[in-house]
């Protein structure tokens, strides 16, 4: 029996990732700046969750097919209408944003349009009531979200500085932040709808990205202690050693999210999209951005930074 039956990634690769570091850093910086610019100038295409819109209560002559109603609305240009059953099977509650170009406050016109769109000859709809609905998430979420992000970053900084070195902490956070900024920027550029599930997707991209960096850094730390080589070689070796793991994990994670994107229907698409981009970016940036950052300027790591100190040894001993 062969010991290694299936290898996606050849072992013992010796790619010189550091050679490209100025190029890859420049690309990352440009993308980040472009993403920030996009968010500032193009704004997000916020979904109903954030903006509020019109709600229409409909009564059909016969029990209605929620999915069919949703696709009729989508065909008429209301791409992200929320349609849910409301009491009996004949009643539906539809919530949607006004079409671009119509006054969002003009609920009458929008609701008239909705009735016209969803009625079919065999199953006419009748409007029971309609009105304007406020946004589901207000200022509260925005403010708390910002606080949450700040505390997450402060927490990362503290934990990684304690377990590794402050330079690693800064490099990991800067890279992770740039990853999620680019994901968010993509939603501004593509005008794809930004709803709460996209927000959740971006947060999980944050989790994935930082996780990926820690794994690579962990190997960097180990090699700094074990190898007699200059930092550039140590970093290169570490990336190469973890390469198979990095790629397999990304591959599996990407394909599972791809399954969500392909089969999950509209409700999961935004989330899956942000996760897919996040996974690709998170993986690439661990290799091409996070490690190169450790070789330049005041983030340059040396063997001394990582030699076990008394405090570190105590911490290592406690490690599970």
């Amino acid at each position: 029996m062969k010991i290694f039956p299936l290898n996606l990634i050849p072992y013992g690769t010796k790619f010189d990732f550091m050679r490209l570091r100025w190029v890859s850093l420049a690309v990352a910086a440009l993308l980040t700046i472009a993403a920030i610019a996009a968010m500032a100038t193009m704004k997000f295409n916020f979904a109903l969750d954030f903006t509020g819109g019109t709600s229409v209560e409909l009564r059909f002559a016969k029990p209605a097919d929620v999915d069919a109603v949703r696709s009729q609305l989508a065909a008429a240009g209301y791409s992200s209408a929320q349609v849910q059953t409301f009491g009996s099977g004949n009643d539906l509650l539809v919530r949607l944003q006004a079409k671009e170009g119509t006054d969002p406050a003009d609920a009458t016109r929008t609701s008239d349009d909705v009735v016209r769109v969803v009625s079919t000859p065999g199953n006419p709809a009748q409007r029971l009531s309609y009105g304007y609905v406020g946004s589901q998430v207000g200022k509260e979420l925005a403010e708390n979200g910002l606080w949450a992000l700040l505390f997450v970053l402060a927490g990362f900084l503290a934990y990684i500085s304690f377990r590794f070195e402050w330079k690693f902490a800064v490099a990991a956070i800067v890279t992770t932040l740039s990853d999620i900024v680019i994901v968010a920027g993509w939603f501004a550029v593509s005008r794809h709808e930004f709803d709460l599930t996209v927000l959740a997707g971006i947060l999980s991209a944050l989790g994935y990205s930082i996780n990926d960096k820690i794994v690579v850094f962990d190997r960097v730390r180990e090699n700094f202690r074990a190898m007699r080589a200059d930092p550039r070689d140590v970093l290169n070796t570490s990336i190469n050693q973890t390469l198979s793991r990095t790629i397999i994990v990304s591959f599996v994670a990407f394909l599972t999210v791809l399954a969500l994107y392909l089969y999950g229907g509209g409700s999961l698409q935004g989330m899956a999209e942000s996760q897919m981009i996040g996974i690709v970016l998170g993986t690439l940036s661990s290799i091409f951005v996070a490690c190169p950052l450790l070789t330049i300027g005041w983030l340059k790591v040396t063997k001394q930074d990582l030699m076990p100190k008394a405090r570190d040894e105590a911490a290592l001993a406690r490690r599970p």
Partner: protein
């Protein structure tokens, strides 16, 4: 060399069994049902049961069962949501204001699971739907309150500036009329009003000032009342412990409240719509019966009735001061407890500093005199007049306790004399959650389907299963025997998350699914780290068993660092996030904890079980 402590296997076995047990209730579907709860003064009894039976029969609804639960509520189980709506409408009309009729999703979990407190996971509004309440502000009550405030402001302004007046009152056409005692003061009064109440339109006619409140000002009053109510409702829902509700303003006078999944909707309804509050008032000594007969009530007093029934079979009257010492909105905190001294359920309250100050002043001047606690409740009533629904409200004021002030009182108090512990708990909750700025009525209650649509949710869940299956197949092919081990770890991880979510009563939503997707990713990562590390050690020439042991040991450190970082993020998101962000954080935190255990500990136990016993192990399938 490759050993694993026996007690750790025992722990794993226990964890698997407990997880399976607590994940089990999720397999039982829920019954749409109607729950009937008695209001203050009404009872759930055999007579009610007959009435319910008869009402359902005449409405043409055949229930699956009618049962009375331990909590004293009656539960009518039905076979479909359509029948549920029908039954609820019929019963709501027939039972009147003595009972709260609410929709519920009753669990069908067998009693033995119930007994160990195993409940199904709560599903959020996006995945399962829930109950939908439409509430409307009582426009008249809100305006009355505003006008009262205007009148009071006017009196204060005039009094403080020594402008004599004969009367300040509200006319039916919503104007305010001030009659001054001295016509020469008109100019001064005009000036004062223009300064302090600039929004009012002013007309003068001799010694009479007529003030009009502009329409937009009234509209603003209503809007701000609604906004304040949305805040109060949110507090109340939070106090009820409902995760991920939707509370939205709709139009200018309505609020939509949607609560996910199973819960005591009757209680939710009672608490959302309730306007019960406590008031502390001084007692005016004197014979209340005499005053009642002669109609000779002291000018500063008003007759209230006590809860106790007198010799004449009617509630005992008592004269209380019109002025309120402290009331609901001056309460800072409240909690319920059982007072062993009085033998009745009680509420412990803490006043705000302003309320405390007033209480201190009053009580220090009235030591040895009695003080009363008035329980005020506003009960909406719906009557059918000529086939039309007529909504009205009844104010129920009851003196629940009269006690002598023993010594000077400060901010902290106890109020005894409540009917039941449930009432005490509800009242404490209401007091904590604040009073509604204007009373609200329920216009509508419905069961709503999942906001993402049933088909979407089903498709989403199928996709989750697909993606999960895909990961498992990949591992089986890529890592062979260790792939099986990885699969066991992943599946157990999923089982544990479901069990924990169910056990702790967290709500599962679509963002929550994102959190689980992430932790599956983290779990995959941990397993890949271990497997790759073992391959690496094998390539370095270590014998298989040593390679396994070293692989696990070396990878655990990395896994711990990576997972703890992510865990930290989860905790911060949980602490500061609201709604969906919180849902995401919860499943992520739980998932990370379980994946650390399953990836490191459980998979190692399985690997040891398979490879640990063999003496001459030449190769392993990885």
């Amino acid at each position: 060399m490759l050993e694993y402590a026996r007690w750790k296997y025992v722990v794993i076995l226990v964890v698997v069994l407990v997880s399976a047990l607590y994940a089990l209730p999720n397999l039982y579907p829920q019954d749409p049902s109607v729950q009937i709860t008695a209001n203050r003064g009404a009872a759930i009894d055999a007579a009610l049961r007959q009435k319910v039976d008869a009402t359902l029969k005449s409405a043409g609804v055949t229930p699956k069962s009618i049962e009375t639960g331990k909590d004293g509520n009656m539960l009518v189980r039905l076979s479909s949501p359509d029948l549920q709506t029908k039954a609820s409408d019929a019963l709501g009309g027939a039972l009147g204001s003595g009972y709260v009729v609410a929709l519920n999703l009753a669990s069908t979990v067998p009693p033995w699971l119930d007994a160990i407190n195993a409940k199904p996971m709560l599903l959020g509004l996006d995945l399962q739907g829930g109950v939908h309440f439409l509430m409307e502000v009582d426009r008249k009550a809100a305006l009355d309150k505003r006008f009262e405030a205007y009148l009071e402001d006017l009196r204060v302004v005039l009094r403080e500036n020594r402008v004599g007046y004969r009367s300040v009152e509200r006319r039916p056409d919503n104007s305010l009329v001030v009659l001054l005692s001295n016509a020469t003061d008109v100019g001064k009064a005009q000036e004062l009003i223009a300064r302090d109440l600039p929004t009012l339109a002013l007309e003068t006619d001799g010694d009479q000032l007529t003030l009009r409140v502009p329409e937009e000002e009234l509209q603003k009053t209503l809007t701000s009342a609604i906004e304040q109510n949305v805040g109060t409702l949110r507090n109340r829902v939070n106090e009820l412990g409902v995760a991920e509700p939707i509370i939205q303003r709709q139009g200018s006078e309505r609020v939509v409240v949607q609560l996910p999944g199973v819960q005591d909707t009757a209680q939710a309804k009672r608490i959302l719509g309730a306007t019960a509050t406590l008031e502390y008032r001084g007692v005016i000594e004197g014979n209340a019966y005499e005053a009642l007969q002669s109609g000779n009530v002291p000018p500063e007093g008003r007759i209230f009735y006590r809860k106790e029934i007198g010799i004449d079979g009617k509630p005992v009257p008592v004269i209380l001061n019109k002025r309120v010492i402290a009331q609901g909105d001056q309460l800072q905190d409240a909690s319920s407890f059982f007072d062993s001294q009085s033998g009745t359920p009680a509420v412990r309250v803490r006043l705000t500093s302003l309320g405390g100050q007033r209480m201190f002043e009053y009580s220090s001047q009235h030591v040895g005199k009695p003080m009363a606690v008035v329980y005020t409740e506003r009960i909406p009533e719906v009557k059918m007049v000529d086939g039309k629904e007529v909504r009205s409200t009844r104010i129920n004021e009851q003196v629940i306790s009269v006690a002598t002030i023993q010594s000077t009182l400060g901010r902290d108090f106890q109020t005894t004399g409540l009917e039941s512990m449930k009432e005490a708990a509800d009242l404490a909750l209401l007091l904590r959650a604040g009073a509604l700025a204007a009373p609200m009525d329920f216009v509508e209650q419905r069961v709503v389907g999942p906001s993402l649509g049933k088909e979407n949710v089903e498709r989403g869940l199928t996709a989750v299963l697909y993606s999960f299956a895909f990961a498992l197949v990949f591992f089986l092919i890529y890592y062979r025997m260790f792939g099986i081990i990885t699969c066991v770890a992943l599946l157990l991880n999923l089982l544990m998350v479901v069990a924990l979510m169910s056990m702790l009563g967290f709500t599962m939503t679509l963002p929550g699914l994102a959190g689980i997707a992430l932790t599956v990713g983290m779990s995959v990562d941990a397993n890949v780290l271990i497997n790759e590390r073992i391959r690496e050690e094998l390539r370095a020439g270590l014998p298989p068993q040593t390679a396994i042991a070293t692989g696990y040991e070396r990878a655990s450190g990395t896994i711990a660092d990576a997972n703890l970082t992510a865990l930290l993020a989860g905790v911060a998101l949980f602490a500061f996030g609201t709604g969906p962000v919180k849902g995401f954080a919860v499943s992520m935190i739980l998932g990370i904890l379980t994946s650390m255990y399953t990836a490191v500990s459980v998979s190692r136990a399985v690997a040891t079980l398979i490879y640990g016993g063999r003496r001459k192990l030449k190769s392993i399938a990885i």
